[in-house]
């Protein structure tokens, strides 16, 4: 069956309306249905959910009520420097530490994406558990080193490089 509007694509959305006892049927393709404002939500709208969270955060200062959404400023992750706003644009995080840094904000999103689950079960690496505590610090130093080199601040860069070397040796 072809779409009634464009008469080009296959109709995949079938709408039955009953008004004053009269029944009308409309058959549309996805694109035309969307143009008519009949949105079909196929996948989990990750971006949308995130934008809602961010919008809630924005409105907090005015309301003097910090119960809605996440409160406080959008503090970048100390390791990779990414903010929630940046994440909301791409749906991609910057480093493993983001899951700790943004834990509170990400949890509702994670639960929604995974049918309410928030605890892993399944394969586990045999050397899991002895996670490096220095990873965040190292990533942070590396990022600052890069900035220092860019700014041609070689004194700071040399200090940072020594700190990185030291940390790497204790690993």
């Amino acid at each position: 069956m072809l779409c009634q509007i464009c008469k080009d694509n296959t109709a995949t959305i079938h709408l039955t309306e009953i008004e004053h006892g009269r029944r009308t049927e409309t058959h549309l393709c996805q694109q035309c249905a969307q143009k008519q404002g009949l949105a079909v939500q196929a996948q989990i709208p990750l971006n949308e959910l995130l934008n809602n969270l961010l919008a809630a955060a924005k409105s907090v200062p005015d309301a003097k009520d910090k119960a809605v959404g996440f409160s406080g400023p959008d503090v970048p992750c100390p390791a990779c420097g990414i903010t929630l706003r940046q994440f909301s644009e791409t749906s991609l995080l910057g480093c493993p530490n983001d899951y700790q840094h943004f834990h509170k904000e990400l949890l509702p999103l994670i639960e929604r994406s995974h049918a309410g689950h928030s605890q892993h079960c399944g394969k586990t690496p045999s050397h899991a558990g002895k996670q490096q505590k220095n990873e965040v610090e190292l990533a942070n130093l590396r990022r600052r080193l890069e900035q220092a080199v860019k700014a041609e601040d070689y004194e700071t860069a040399a200090q940072l490089r020594d700190q990185i070397r030291q940390l790497n040796e204790t690993r």
Partner: protein
């Protein structure tokens, strides 16, 4: 091994053998992994990407993956080669058009591929022809164990394997089957299948073409939930519960067509064959539609002189990059349509 050498042959997983292969074209299990101590892709400098690429490449090539193992430097491959790899489902379209140091290891007649620096540091997948998810899972899990002995994955005891996108967290597993469902489509029941799949938290996508459009009645069905469910559960749910039911529905729909509408069914199949055997210009969309009808006809025994392997091969080799590599030069749309028509005529005449 040059990617171009792949252009004239069928993939081992796009075969004409395997359980329920008239309906289930192939099974696939993919795992997403990241290395501890490295940022995710969006925050990596080119140097760090290169470091990951070298590290994972060395580790994977040191494993026993059978013979014919090769690595392709995707960043330095020609655009046409990258497109070819994407058309053969060896890399994603995203990986083909991405930026920076990245690559893919291909082994076992294209049944194993490992993309390095795609959305995650490592995305590996195992394919099998027909309905064979358990076998895919066992193979990829063994390979994963071997890699894990040599590198440290980013892992959290609560959230499992950490991935760049939170939708892949936990097991990082994507279990999928590629289905050919022409009879459900013809009998107007495909929407029911799509709705039922979505209710079961499964994603439905088209196999060929962009986006969710399922051109040629090919559908890819895969799990969405990766956290809080064991890998074996995901595999079992699809392989024991969901896919066998869909296969039964498709079979029943095929039987109903044979019993109630055999003339219109034969008409559709023979007309498709007629156009494919005589067209001088044919677009990739039209050929997908028509080949789908012929594939149905072959599987129902209505087309005696054409083999399933031939039809399957045509789906692959009539794609744009495949045609251009065969021709050895860039072709515009008209030239591609002419070459596609020629390739199809020859293949179908030989049978």
């Amino acid at each position: 091994m040059k990617p171009a050498n792949l252009a004239n042959q069928s993939s081992s997983w796009f075969g004409a053998e395997g359980p329920a292969c008239d309906i289930v074209i192939s099974s696939r299990v993919r795992l997403a992994r990241n290395l501890a101590g490295f940022e995710f892709l969006p925050c990596l400098t080119p140097q760090r990407k290169q470091e990951i690429l070298d590290k994972l490449n060395t580790v994977i090539l040191s494993l026993d993956l059978g013979d014919k193992v090769f690595f392709i430097d995707v960043d330095h491959a020609a655009a046409l080669e990258r497109q070819l790899l994407a058309e053969r489902h060896l890399i994603s379209r995203q990986h083909a058009v991405g930026k920076g140091p990245r690559g893919v290891v291909i082994a076992a007649g294209e049944a194993f591929t490992a993309m390095i620096n795609e959305e995650d540091h490592l995305r590996m997948q195992v394919y099998a022809a027909g309905m064979n998810l358990e076998q895919c899972w066992q193979r990829i899990s063994r390979i994963d164990d071997e890699i894990e002995k040599r590198v440290e994955y980013a892992f959290d005891s609560q959230l499992g394997y950490l991935t760049a996108c939170p939708t892949n967290l936990g097991t990082g597993i994507r279990v999928s089957v590629m289905l050919h469902l022409p009879a459900l489509k013809l009998t107007g029941q495909i929407e029911k299948f799509v709705t039922a799949a979505k209710d079961a938290d499964l994603a439905v996508r088209g196999l060929f073409g962009e986006g969710t459009d399922a051109i040629g009645d090919f559908y890819q069905l895969s799990n969405q939930v990766t956290l809080g469910v064991r890998e074996e559960q995901v595999v079992e749910e699809l392989s024991k519960n969901i896919v066998p039911r869909i296969v039964e529905y498709e079979k029943a729909a095929r039987q109903a067509l044979l019993e109630e509408k055999v003339h219109s069914l034969d008409d559709k199949i023979q007309r498709a064959l007629g156009v494919l055997r005589s067209a001088c210009l044919i677009s990739s969309q039209e050929s997908l539609y028509l080949l789908s009808s012929v594939r149905l006809g072959v599987n129902l025994g209505r087309v005696p002189n054409v083999s399933l392997a031939t039809v399957n091969e045509l789906f692959l080799v009539t794609q744009p990059a495949h045609l251009q590599i065969r021709a050895g030069k860039m072709l515009d749309a008209d030239q591609r349509d002419a070459l596609r028509a020629q390739v199809i005529r020859q293949k179908l005449a030989n049978n």
